[in-house]
Every structure is written in C-alpha cells, then in structure tokens.
C-alpha cells in the first residue's frame, strides 16, 4: 500500500525575520544581554541569508574521562542537508546534544546563527530549543496524548496563544501527512507514523534547523525512505537538516553532503558523499 505524502502548504515558515533574533531580544536585562542583542539584531539581516552553525575545536569529555568529541571543527551553512555517519560510539549523538545544549562543551565554541551557545544559560536553553527541532530514534512521543495533543503540546508548553496553536498544528500535521489520524494515540500508529508525528512536533516552532538522530533506526526500508523524503521536502523549504544515520542506502541515494566521524572527530567531509565505512 502506498502512503502518499501530499505537497505541503507553502507558507509553513511564514515568519520572515529570524526568530532567533526576535526571541532573544525579548529580555535584554543586563548590559551584556543588551550588546548580545544589539549584535544579534545587527546580524539579523545577514542571518537570514547565512544561518550558520559553527563548531570550533570542540571537545567533549564526559565525567569519568570518557572522551566523546575531540577538537571537532565543522561549519554547516543555512539550508544545507548534511548527513553525519560513523560507527557506534564515535560521538554523533554527543554532537547533537551539544547543538541543542543538552550537554556543554568541555572546550572550543559553538555558534548558531551568530549566537554563541557554548556557555548558554539554563534559562536560555528553551529559546534555543525553539530554534532547533530535534527528532530521535525512539520518537519520544507521550503515550497518553493523541497525535494532535503531542504536537500541540510543544506549543502549549512554550506559552503560544491558542489561536496560533489552532493555526499551526494542522499545518505541520498536514506536512507529515497524518491529517486523518489526528486523534490516534501513539500505540495505534506504525513506527513510521510515530516518527512523522515527532517530526511534526519538531516543526511547530518553525525551526531554522532540524536535527534527526538516527530517525530511521527503528524503521524498515519503506518507512525509512518515506521519512527521508519528508526530510528532503522540509529541507526544500529552506530548513537546514542534520541527519545522523547508520543507513548506507539512505546516504548513498541522497547525494548530499556527508560527514564521516571517527574517534570523536571528522574523518571525511564530502560535498556529494557516500557511506564509506
């Protein structure tokens, strides 16, 4: 049976200005914040064109002297579709965690769209998370919430007004093609559908970047292919996609940039890459 993915409405990223800048300027309390804000605002126009992600000589050593990343330097341009591959334990997930500030770097610096998040404060993490959507192998859906509720939840907990929720949720659910399963619960969905719900949820804040850590890890070939197609379409809207994957077939057919990691750093970085392991 074929599940068609309908063409998405073109306006899902309606907000024209970088909301990185907008949201961060809401509370310029200290002078540091003020200058950060001013700089970010000045960079705002440029940002639109180059929402760049930069890792500069980043290392991450977990407690217990476990070295996950070592001297990793990496630049990802706005709108890119980057695959990150590598054997288990080379630090791919750690890279993702640093990017969404779930972990802090031990050394080096990380800048997202002109915002240095290396030492980001706990109170600012929510703002970052609304700029970077994340998707994981295990979907992380709430089992007691329906498709609609799971997606709406992301907006509710960030204080979005009701009208905005009512407008955005149907849009993103339509993008992932689940508009006729709004009231199902996760256990009533296939793995592929659950992953699509989690992608819809990641899109509600209209993120500039979508990070997917092994999103097809639990899926069969057909479902995997559908998820990748979906990511490609989201990328076509201009959203940067960072795809961490083990899936050789996926990487080889994508014909996009591939970064291969080894021992906590980058081994290869090819513009149109192949899975070389």
């Amino acid at each position: 049976m074929e599940r068609r993915l309908k063409p998405a409405p073109t306006d899902y990223r309606m907000c024209p200005l970088s909301s990185v800048v907008e949201q961060r300027n809401r509370k310029p309390h200290t002078s540091v914040r003020f200058w950060q804000g001013a700089l970010a605002m000045a960079g705002g126009a440029v940002l639109l064109l180059v929402l760049m992600i930069t890792f500069e000589k980043v290392s991450k050593i977990y407690p217990g002297n476990s070295v996950a990343l070592q001297d990793l330097t990496l630049t990802i341009d706005a709108g890119e579709f980057v695959s990150i591959v590598g054997q288990s334990g080379v630090g791919k997930t750690t890279l993702v965690k640093l990017l969404i500030a779930e972990e802090r770097a031990s050394a080096g610096s990380i800048v997202v769209g002109g915002w240095d998040i290396t030492h980001i404060r706990a109170s600012e993490v929510p703002l970052l998370r609304r700029q970077i959507g994340v998707v994981f192998q295990d979907y992380k859906l709430l089992p007691k919430k329906s498709v609609w509720e799971n997606v709406a939840f992301a907006l509710e907990v960030s204080g979005a007004p009701r009208e905005r929720i009512a407008a955005i949720v149907p849009q993103v659910i339509k993008i992932v093609g689940l508009e006729d399963k709004l009231h199902r619960y996760p256990r009533q969905l296939s793995g592929g559908e659950q992953q699509r719900v989690s992608i819809a949820r990641a899109l509600v804040h209209r993120p500039k970047v979508l990070v997917a850590d092994e999103p097809t890890g639990n899926l069969d070939a057909l479902n995997s292919q559908e998820i990748i197609e979906l990511l490609k379409r989201i990328n076509a809207f201009g959203t940067t996609i960072i795809l961490v994957t083990h899936n050789r077939g996926v990487v080889n057919t994508l014909k996009k940039r591939v970064i291969t990691m080894e021992g906590g750093t980058i081994a290869h970085d090819q513009k149109i890459g192949k899975y070389v392991l």
């Binding site: 969404i100 779930e102 706990a122 109170s123 993490v125 929510p126 703002l127 970052l128 998370r129 609304r130 994340v134 992380k140 859906l141 709430l142 089992p143 007691k144 939840f153 992301a154 509710e156 907990v157 960030s158 204080g159 007004p161 009701r162 949820r201 990641a202 509600v204 804040h205």
Partner: protein
C-alpha cells in the same frame, strides 16, 4: 492568563490520567496525616485525663471543733490569696455531714450508726486546690507558718502525697513517650510521602524530557507539579480529618464509657480545634509535598 490556565489544565489532566498514582499518593499522605493526628488526639486525651485527675485532687484542712464560722471564713479568704492556690472551699460541719450521707446513701448500716451519735462527729473543713499538684507541700508549709495554724486539727495531705507524685511521674513519662512517637511518626511519614512523590514523578520523566526538548520554560515544567502537590495536600487533609471524625463518631460510646466521670470529650475537642490543626497540617504537609516534588522534578530538569 492563557499560561496560567494551561498550567492548571496540565495539572488537572495529569491528575486524572494517572488516577491510580494520584490516589496512592493521596492515600499515603492521608495515612501519614491520620497517624500523626491519632497521636495528637492521644496526646490531647492523656492531657485532659491528667488534668481532670489533677482537678479532683484537693487537700482537706480539718478545723478544730471550737473554731468559729467567722475564723473559718477569714482563713478561707487568706488561703484564697495564696498565689499557688487555685480554689478554696469552706465546708461547714453540717455540710460535711450532708455530703457524707449522700456519699453513703446505699450503706444504711453506716448511716444508722451515725445517727446513734447525738452530735455530728464530722469536723468543719476547708478544701484547698493547688494550681499545680507539686505545690501542695509548699502550701501546707505556708499555712503552718500563719496564725491560723491554731485552728487546724489536722491535714490529710499525707494520703494524697503518693497519688500526687505518681500523677506527676506518669504525666511527664506519657508526654515524653507521645512526643517521641510523634517525632518518629512524622519522620516516617516524611520518608514515605517523599518516596511516593518520587515514584510518581519518576513516571513523568518522559514527559519532563519531552517538555525540555520542545523548549518548555522551567516554570512550565515545574508549576503543574507544584499545583498538583497543593491539590494532593488539600484533598489529603480533608480526607484525613473526615476519616478521623467518622472514626471518633463510631467509637464515641466506648470512649464515653471509658472516661466515665472524667471531663474528656475528644469529639467535642476535635470540633472545636480541627480548623487550626487542618490549617497547620495543610501548610506543613503542603510545604513538604512541594519540596519533595520540586526535588524529584529537579533530577529530570537538570542534565
């Protein structure tokens, strides 16, 4: 406004969707409160029993038969002025006889032998109550130093001395035991309630992780649990006092029989004091619950 409403909604939804866990948490808090309350009531009970026993103690100062009514009244007034004396009652010889006859009305043999005497054998007396049973010795010593001493035939303090010391000993021992038990109960309750809340938050770790992931602010993550704690506490306090009241109502006849003759009425006491207790317990248990849940949530919010 939307935010506040939404926080309430989350707390509410959470309560119902995890009804069993909510009920178990409430049950644990109720049991903790009940055990503390039972002990507090026990304390009230021993207190009133002891006080009522103390109230029944008095020392009789028997007056010589040649003491005039006037002298006796003067003496009574003097005694009333003594700082350690709470109550003084002058009983004339005639009144003493009346009381005697009333007391032994089922013992006609005794009464008829009394009638055979041509004059009242009972002396007039003054009943003295001290503000504290420990002070009887001192009061009697003080009386002995006054000129009134010449009117005193004898005092029967010696009969009471042992009773008074044993009441004193029991009082302080009971108080100490109750206090120890209370501390133990409170500590055990705190541990049980804290762990129950921890388990309940543990089942929410997924939700907390997801909330963090999608950019929920810290307040949004924590406040529903704080609301929930307040609601849990409120319900628990209501249920525990309701249960206590029903329990007391059920065993009231037995209690009444047990405390026959003493001025002990737990039910009345509870009716008069429950709101103060409830308020205190709501405040303290609420604080404990909020702290427990904040502490438990913290584990998943950090990291």
């Amino acid at each position: 406004m939307t935010t506040l409403f939404r926080l309430f909604k989350f707390a509410w939804q959470d309560f119902w969707r995890n009804l069993w866990l909510s009920l178990v948490t409430i049950l644990m808090i109720v049991l903790a409160l009940m055990s503390v309350n039972t002990l507090l009531l026990f304390n009230v009970m021993t207190d009133t029993v002891i006080r009522s026993v103390e109230k029944n103690i008095d020392v009789l100062v028997y007056l010589k038969s040649d003491t005039t009514d006037e002298d006796a009244k003067k003496m009574t007034e003097e005694l009333q002025k003594h700082p350690d004396v709470s109550h003084v009652r002058y009983i004339t010889a005639a009144e003493a006889l009346q009381e005697f006859q009333l007391k032994f009305k089922d013992k006609p043999a005794l009464l008829s032998s009394l009638k055979e005497l041509d004059k009242n054998p009972l002396p007039a007396r003054i009943a003295v109550q001290a503000s504290d049973p420990k002070l009887y010795g001192k009061i009697l010593d003080d009386i002995a130093k006054t000129p009134a001493q010449e009117h005193i035939e004898k005092t029967d303090f010696t009969n009471y001395e042992t009773l008074i010391t044993s009441v004193n000993a029991i009082t302080s021992k009971v108080r100490r035991i109750v206090l120890g038990l209370l501390i133990l109960f409170v500590l055990v309750s705190i541990l049980i309630v804290y762990n129950t809340i921890r388990v309940s938050i543990y089942t929410h770790r997924e939700e907390i992780v997801v909330m963090k992931l999608v950019g929920a602010s810290n307040a949004f993550i924590r406040l529903p649990y704080i609301f929930e704690s307040v609601v849990f506490t409120l319900l628990s306090v209501i249920v525990s006092f309701g249960a206590l009241y029903v329990l007391l109502l059920a065993i009231e006849p037995q209690l009444k029989a047990f405390f026959e003759g003493l001025d002990v009425n737990l039910l009345r006491y509870l009716e008069g004091h429950w709101y103060m207790w409830a308020l205190w317990q709501f405040a303290l248990a609420g604080m404990l619950n909020i702290l427990s849940s904040a502490f438990a949530v913290n584990r998943y919010v950090r990291g």
